[in-house]
Symmetry: C2
Subunit: 198 residues, 2 copies
């Protein structure tokens, strides 16, 4: 964003303001990856962006296979479908005969039963689960069996990581629960009522 705005140098104070972090936290965090700030001057925006891209491995294109090309799978494919240099949906599978063979958001839907060969052919390295809860465990096994080492799970089921396979469980409902707690009042974080000593 700073590059797009034409900003050439940025201080840890300005970065901290954007992320609601202290300048010293920004400096400490970035120092973990080597000292690329200059005292009193700050960070060179272009080289900071380049360096962070490489640290986060966003300089490589990651290839996603989406399991479940319903509305959520379609939404994700559309979202990543253009103008994304780091992530591309390269394949989609589903078990619904009405979807198989269709092209959705630029992705040809192939049969779930062929997941292993589809994953291999498309050289996918991240699996995305957008299946109903009851299908999640089986689909996860299929992805692991196909050699995927990273899985993003949107099904409302907590999948356990295993050796060599990183799993990110994203439960959309939990965000709603946080908002609900806020709407309900201030019971959370409030200490329990004290028993009067009188």
């Amino acid at each position: 964003m700073l590059e797009a705005e034409g900003v050439l140098q940025v201080s840890s104070q300005e970065l901290g303001d954007r992320f609601h972090l202290s300048p010293s936290q920004i400096r400490r965090d970035l120092a973990n990856f080597g000292g690329f700030g200059v005292r009193g001057v700050g960070y060179d925006v272009a080289s900071l962006a380049d360096r962070l891209h490489r640290v986060l491995r966003l300089d490589a294109l990651h290839r996603l296979i989406v399991v479940g090309m319903g509305n959520l799978g379609t939404a994700l494919s559309s979202y990543l479908g253009f103008n994304d240099l780091s992530f591309e949906v390269v394949a989609g599978v589903d078990s619904d005969p009405d979807l198989i063979g269709q092209e959705i958001a630029g992705v040809l839907v192939e049969p779930f039963s062929e997941l292993a060969s589809v994953a291999r052919r498309s050289q996918a390295d991240i699996g995305v689960l957008t299946v109903p809860a009851e299908a999640a465990a089986g689909a996860f096994e299929a992805l692991v069996g196909a050699g995927l080492r990273a899985v993003l799970n949107f099904a409302p089921v907590m999948l356990e990581e295993r050796s060599g396979v990183r799993v990110k469980n994203v439960d959309l409902r939990i965000h709603l629960e946080e908002l609900a707690a806020h709407l309900g009042g201030a019971e959370i974080g409030r200490p329990p009522p004290e028993v009067s000593s009188e």
Copy 2:
């Protein structure tokens, strides 16, 4: 889940195992809401579930208005459409003339321009933004203007909270970035190379 499994009592150890937390952390956290465990026995599952529902205000039904009834809005409406006692999508708006008037996942799509009256009539208390990045700021203003006090934002734009309005920004891409960093190797978390003293 424990109730469904017929479990009547649960210890902080068993709860901790499920959440990858220590038993003492479980006890401390739950003690914040009053002492409802019994030493050496654990927690009564039914009363713990009931109590947590009330603490999290999940005993009330929350009414969602979805702004942007594209694929993500549809996915969310379907996901919450059945068997959810805490959250219901009561209204959806969009600015696409092809969608307005359609019923999608049980939700009638109404014009974005009528958001304020739709929100009032449907008594929505949580707004969900599933619009493109460039539409997010305007849609957020419209929700706040319509009196919503809680907003779940899926647009890839960081919306700032303001007085009395709670905002949850959910950036799906950030989960992919975490997975990418894992795939790329171990640079993250590894200390910077030390300069040899020789």
